[in-house]
Subunit: 187 residues, 2 copies
């Protein structure tokens, strides 16, 4: 069996992001047969503008859409900005969803999020589920991975040190793998 | 009495946007003593990144924050992208809210939205209310201005031609003016 390819998107653009660190942790925890490629630079995409989205979209957009198309599934880690998802993440989803091929319809997606406060991005994750439902993605329902007080769960060099979070991430990736198999079988 | 200044933000970046056209219509319908300045280019702001938001934020961000600070109130017109608000609008709100002075706390805001479909951006407006509540803005509750089937309500050169929408916009601006007065009185 070929390796299945998961594209992991970080909703945070800052270099020291715990959400990006969560994706790096996921890479060490994946079940056999899966590979994770991390995109932690969604800020390179221009803000969505229908006028830019004609026959020849910007090169960075075309490259991003090709990466989404090539992925068997997505893993998204999101911080919470003002009770919702960051603009950078919404922007990436809007560009992916407006591709003529409908890139997110039926795509398996797992979501997680980390925040330094006591809520662990729960509100952002609810908004993210609503947006992903609108684009027709197949989102993993459980477990919910809400990494609250995230700065207590990583080492100084941003390695995941909390076994409970590691167990949850492993469970999330297993659930995502189970979603991929019926999807790829239907191709 | 000095004229009160409303900054109008369009959530759409495309040139032929009905949401931007709605803001131009509002300009012709405002009660005496108010002036509307339109910002229809939120795409000039970089995607929010905390690493860019130190002591010296990007010039375009500083200028945008100064415009928000100088406004007595905001009027926002939003399309709906994937059951939520456009990334460009979320991004603008995130940059305004993260200014050290807390620019949106207590700021009077009126919202409206237009879409060519039958829902008139209702879901986007619910998300927008949630985000504006998180930043502490004082959002006008009624009327709800959901301009569905918007392409039937403007002339070919994007002038508002529907008297019902014009009445609703006038009512919205009156409600916004009533919100501004207690706010400025408390300054």
């Amino acid at each position: 069996m070929n390796e299945l390819n998961i594209l992991a998107l970080s909703g945070s653009l800052r270099a020291q992001s715990h959400n990006t660190a969560l994706l790096h942790a996921a890479r060490t925890l994946i079940p056999g047969g899966l590979a994770i490629d991390i995109d932690d630079d969604l800020g390179r995409l221009p803000l969505y503008n229908q006028d830019l989205d004609g026959g020849t979209p910007p090169v960075v957009v075309a490259e991003f859409r090709a990466r989404i198309a090539a992925a068997d599934a997505l893993l998204i880690a999101t911080p919470e900005h003002n009770a919702s998802i960051p603009a950078a993440l919404k922007n990436a989803i809007d560009w992916a969803s407006t591709a003529p091929e409908g890139l997110l319809r039926g795509k398996p997606v797992a979501i997680a999020g980390a925040s330094p406060g006591p809520f662990g991005s729960v509100r952002a994750q609810l908004v993210l589920r609503q947006v992903l439902a609108a684009v027709g993605a197949e989102v993993v329902v459980k477990p919910e991975v809400t990494v609250f007080h995230c700065d207590t769960r990583f080492t100084g060099d941003r390695k995941l040190s909390d076994p409970c979070t590691a167990d949850l991430l492993r469970e999330l990736l297993d659930a995502l793998a189970r979603k991929i198999h019926p999807y790829t079988a239907a191709k």
